[in-house]
């Protein structure tokens, strides 16, 4: 239990800073993070970005599992944890150790909310991510379900994806209704997580500029005392050279 506590409270020992955003689909968190990214770069910072479920290692597998609809709540959760571990090791830790800034679109709290709604044990999934480090800042973009739905339907996406709508849970045959039920449960989990891990709750119903202004104020305060570090060239985004990975299938 003491080890688990440490992920919650103990700050990481590295000179860089890790800032993450959380929220359901349609909360606008990715937009806010993108704008923060632009602003930090304009201030001369070297910024690294990493996104949930994006590592080469498991992307193809998740895709295959989703296609075959063979994923169970547990394998779904484990695959995301593997993806996270791989990105933590290859993308997040190196720049943090070098004293740079890392922005993450979704972090382990996404698993704590989503995987628990899918049916895994809340204790188990928290232990699973015990190797993670605590972010320096964690923003939670809180949005009512109807606002998220209307944003997604009006927006470029037009329709919901199968797993995003939780269609695998047989909540409703109607995709929008399934999304509403599934994401509402996720919102309820997030509310617990906010207290448990002390996430900064942001009002995601406000207009984009107002939210961004607020975010920048908070980040500026948090970065006071932080000494920016960057290399001479500032182009490189790979830290490890890998052997060629044979394409799957």
């Amino acid at each position: 239990m003491s080890e688990q506590e440490s992920t919650k409270v103990a700050p990481h020992p590295y000179p860089g800073k890790l800032i993450i955003v959380e929220g359901i689909d349609g909360s606008g968190k990715s937009t806010q993070l993108l704008l923060l990214h632009k602003w930090l770069e304009s201030k001369g910072h070297k910024v690294f970005f990493t996104e949930w479920n994006s590592s080469d290692l498991v992307k193809a597998t998740t895709k295959r599992g989703k296609k075959a609809k063979s994923l169970t709540p547990t394998t779904f959760s484990l695959l995301h944890a593997t993806d996270f571990a791989s990105r933590l090791y290859h993308q997040i830790l190196p720049p943090l150790k070098a004293g740079m800034l890392v922005l993450a679109d979704r972090y382990m709290y996404t698993a704590f909310a989503r995987d628990v709604v899918r049916g895994v044990s809340p204790d188990w999934v928290r232990k699973l991510y015990n190797f993670a480090i605590k972010p320096d800042m964690a923003f939670y973009y809180r949005v009512p379900i109807e606002v998220a739905i209307s944003r997604l339907l009006r927006g470029t996406r037009g329709q919901f994806k199968y797993y995003e709508a939780g269609m695998d849970m047989n909540l409703s045959t109607d995709v929008t209704e399934s999304f509403r039920l599934f994401q509402s449960r996720i919102l309820a989990e997030y509310d617990k997580i906010v207290d448990e891990f002390g996430l900064l709750t942001m009002d995601a119903t406000q207009d984009i500029e107002t939210q961004q202004e607020h975010m920048r104020t908070l980040v500026e305060e948090a970065l006071r005392g932080y000494k920016p570090r960057r290399g001479t060239y500032g182009r490189r985004t790979l830290f490890w050279r890998r052997f060629d990975v044979p394409k799957s299938e």
């Binding site: 290692l57 394998t75 944890a81 044990s121």
Partner: protein, 240 residues
């Protein structure tokens, strides 16, 4: 939430109370002869009329290709390596092992969670995390551990399949070449298996004996587990 049949935090969405079959795990380090003995056990059980399925480490539909790919050259950190194994295991547990146990089959597992425990511990020095990760695993009805010493193992492996990168734990840089590394890595694994043998009460079988003697001993451990297990009538299950 805690169910006695699960190792730790179980599959909350599954009820294990209707599992009629028996789960038998054969553990032991690389090249110790597990697969051969499992094949012989399957034959022996099927002749007696038991339904048997075997399940092997990294052989799930979902993960076998991914793990091969990852091992084939990608740099793997220790968490990803362990989590890939865990995902493979979960896929087999939910799609093979549990359905088979529910139908009354005997499941012979070539390696089980203890392999993951040993490999992770050798890399991390921490036993807690990996055991938490595998909390959803079913506790086997029987674990047989094929024990060997590293000197005999090294000779045997060189004579048969040769040493490979991962079986030599080359990612740990324990020795200057494959041979030295193999011996150091495998002795660490054996040391941890020996500790677990006490902790989890494995049935230890000396793998230096002749195959016939080993098989005899394994059968001796399995027989009592099968008593009370209702034999499948009709024996319609034909060995492959």
């Amino acid at each position: 939430m805690a169910d006695g049949r699960f190792f730790g935090d179980g599959l909350t969405y599954l009820n294990p109370s209707d599992l009629k079959g028996k789960l038998i795990a054969v553990e032991g380090t690389d090249g110790v002869g597990r697969s051969t003995h499992i094949e012989m056990l399957q034959e022996w059980l099927e002749v007696q009329g038991y339904g048997v399925i075997t399940t092997g480490w990294t052989r799930s539909n979902l993960m076998s290709k991914t793990i091969e790919m990852a091992k084939a050259g990608n740099i793997l950190d220790r968490w990803s390596l362990s989590l890939l194994y865990a995902t493979d295991f979960a896929d087999r547990l939910e799609h093979q092992i549990i359905p088979a146990l529910r139908s009354g089959f005997i499941v012979l597992a070539d390696r089980y969670i203890y392999t993951a425990f040993a490999r992770d511990f050798v890399r991390s020095g921490d036993r807690k995390w990996i055991r938490d990760v595998f909390g959803f695993a079913l506790i086997p009805d029987l674990v047989c551990y094929l024990r060997i010493d590293v000197e005999t193992l090294a000779l045997r492996v060189i004579e048969t399949m040769g040493m490979n990168y991962w079986e030599s734990g080359m990612d740990l840089r324990l020795g200057t070449d494959l041979y030295d590394s193999f011996k150091k890595y495998q002795s660490l694994l054996i040391e941890e298996f020996d500790k677990m043998a006490e902790e989890f009460r494995f049935n230890v079988v000396d793998a230096r004996k002749s195959p016939e003697e080993i098989q005899e001993e394994l059968r001796g451990h399995i027989l009592p587990v099968l008593q009370g297990h209702k034999r499948m009538t009709g024996a319609e299950h034909v060995p492959a």
